[in-house]
Symmetry: C2
Subunit: 425 residues, 2 copies
């Protein structure tokens, strides 16, 4: 029961300042490994990727047609064989007066210097008739026309996308050097929490006032989807008990680079965050963010190594903490200069004005109007953090980065979790 003077959120730190403090205090991972390109989706390049070969290494046909000597056109040529992609008959070559059928992408047989497309010839038995002249180098991709040996393909610090993998395999880059994954532990704190497993039982417990744990799961989901270079190596649920949480952090802290605590960060007679820091002899980086929705967000560094970021126990506020802070911290620890698809998937035009006293997330409806994405905020009473159920009325979350009045028509970044109305694929 209370009785002490609260010592809580005396000074709120702006988000950009919080990120700066963490960047100064936490070193990025340095271990690297070479892995096959096809296993590297979502990983961070530890070294520039450069082309290892001129590609194509031989001229390649750009059409289905006939590889011939330009000096033989126009003319009647004998077809002596066939070269398809990845396959040339051994010893096959184009001598004067002959032609070889080639499919798109096939390497030209020796001797040939041009390609006559299929539709430009008349076939007569084993002969083809070409009516006009074809210059050397026509209808083919010359050596090195896709990439030159040594050419920079992707810079260090880029996160590899599926499309990059496709591209690199296309020019015979099959292995890349990447940083090891950032290891994250997640602890949901809250004596009222339970991990639901049986729907009927869960329903009863929620009606009784217990809380099904979802905030930490939401954060794990956000990490796996938007920070694929990190992986949640454990996620647990602990009671609001400083000794228990300290014990866990002491035992398991060294297994990860970063720990995310959700919940247990709110006001109380004695500030649990400072209590925890004291129990662990940890260095507090900041306590409280200048935001609405995630105000109790805080950070400390444990003396056994890892960074601890404490997020709100409320899902939307914690998600706000993820988007504004954790995502950027994960980029820093992971050495990311440029990521793949970020959590703020789109920019939308506000349909109505909103007053934002502090940077904050707002729930919005999304629709496409004349090709433009428009975000309409839910009414204020549905924005309240207690009314989590209003998520179902929203299509996404807009992030108001500044403390100001946003006018209708201003652009804001949004996290989209539902297809906008009027979306056409």
């Amino acid at each position: 029961m209370p009785g002490h003077v609260p010592r809580y959120l005396e000074k709120l730190t702006p988000v950009s300042e919080a990120i700066r403090i963490i960047k100064e205090s936490v070193k990025p991972v340095s271990e690297v490994e070479s892995i096959p390109v096809w296993s590297a989706i979502g990983r961070v390049l530890a070294k520039d990727v450069v082309a290892e070969h001129d590609f194509p290494p031989k001229p390649r046909s750009a059409y289905d047609g006939y590889a011939v000597r330009a000096s033989d056109t126009p003319g009647k040529l004998r077809v002596v064989g066939e070269a398809t992609i990845g396959r040339i008959e051994h010893g096959l070559r184009v001598d004067p007066g002959t032609a070889v059928y080639v499919s798109t992408g096939a390497y030209l047989p020796d001797g040939a210097d041009t390609v006559v497309p299929e539709e430009a010839v008349r076939r007569e038995g084993e002969y083809i008739v070409i009516d006009r002249e074809f210059k050397a180098g026509k209808n083919l991709d010359p050596i090195g026309s896709y990439v030159r040996k040594g050419q920079l393909l992707l810079p260090k610090g880029y996160v590899l996308s599926m499309f990059d993998v496709v591209a690199l395999l296309d020019v015979a880059v099959t292995e890349v050097e990447v940083y090891r994954k950032v290891r994250v532990g997640v602890i949901a704190t809250g004596t009222e929490l339970f991990e639901p497993s049986n729907p009927r039982e869960a329903e009863k417990r929620i009606l009784r006032g217990e809380v099904a744990e979802t905030t930490a799961k939401l954060i794990e989901y956000a990490i796996s989807r938007y920070a694929p270079w990190a992986s949640v190596v454990w996620r647990v649920m602990l009671p609001d008990d400083i000794d228990t949480i300290s014990w866990y952090l002491t035992r398991q802290g060294t297994s990860v680079d970063m720990i995310i605590l959700t919940g247990g960060t709110g006001p109380s007679n004695v500030d649990p965050f400072y209590q925890l820091a004291e129990a662990l002899e940890a260095k507090v980086l900041f306590r409280g963010l200048f935001v609405k929705g995630g105000r109790p967000t805080s950070a400390m560094i444990l003396n056994n190594g890892p960074l601890v970021i404490a997020l709100s126990g409320h899902p939307i506020s914690a998600f706000h903490g993820f988007v504004r802070l954790v995502y950027h911290v994960l980029k820093h620890i992971g050495n990311v200069k440029r990521s793949t698809e970020p959590p703020l998937t789109a920019l939308a035009k506000l349909a109505s004005p909103v007053k934002s006293k502090r940077p904050q997330p707002i729930k919005v409806k999304l629709r496409v109007v004349n090709g433009v994405l428009e975000a309409t905020p839910l009414p204020p009473e549905r924005q309240l953090s207690s009314v989590t159920v209003s998520n179902v009325e929203a299509d996404g979350i807009a992030i108001l980065r500044e403390a100001k009045v946003y006018e209708a028509g201003e652009w804001v970044p949004v996290h989209m979790f539902r297809e906008p109305e009027g979306y056409e694929g």
Copy 2:
């Protein structure tokens, strides 16, 4: 070797027409199952989700403070206990002249009808002093204030997002009825293909002209990320051999709702798509799309049930086929009215004009300029389908839905695979 008259893409079908034809010919899945809400992310609701209870079922405190009787305020009250979220001491009630400490979210003990926030009281030993009047119903969330029993929460046909799961668990909806997943098989066809496993060996083979299979993998990736209500139950690689492909489709066709073929759809002396349809006694729905990038896209229905969609073997063209056609077909078969985050994640303003003779995908650079997402097309020579490696220069793919000249400043939907330049989280 060639010699016949090609019978290839005689009539190109517009995309919207192709979708309509498929919708008319293919029935959505009808089997439903009840599953826990927390397992239902990405699944399609088979029934409206309505609130099963007024929620909260009892008044809930909206602050950390004291539950009291309004008629006792102002006044000095004895604190007789504590109610935290999910926990009320057995038999605890608020009788005249008493108060109970409540934390945010806790149910009010019987007898109390208002909450006095912690900061509005003066504590004196086991007593609190309240200086002013608090009306009944203040600082609490009344019964049914989040949702009313029977209230529609999410309509049938919506895909459940992580945020919906959070919302539903908040009001004790723990189970939902969903359609079974759409089952998809993927076949990469191409005698030149191989599935890379060893980087050194793969490099040699690619230099020799063989092709590492990536198109079918890209499609599987797109399905898992953007159509989570479907699942790829098998993916295989087969040679360009009608008999082998027919055999496979005959043996494995019944295990899935839909099969995607990649490659083997291009021009040839005898149209392999029609050959395949003939061998399988399948009904051809259309052969060839009116697009640039995925023109050979076609569809047939096998006599043992499943729909077959043939996509280009080229990764970007196949992806175009996914975005424009397959995604919508998967929505149809899966009974989806409204999906979660779609593959065209953003709308962007074209930075320069582009001429589009047929609907097509173009590779673009993305950056945020004055809060607006801007898409700059790569130069024409880097758009060529043969130059897959130019993916690394792009940040995303813009979809030009119409055959027309797009002016600078027009809005186009984009699939973003790299964080735009100037992106702020």
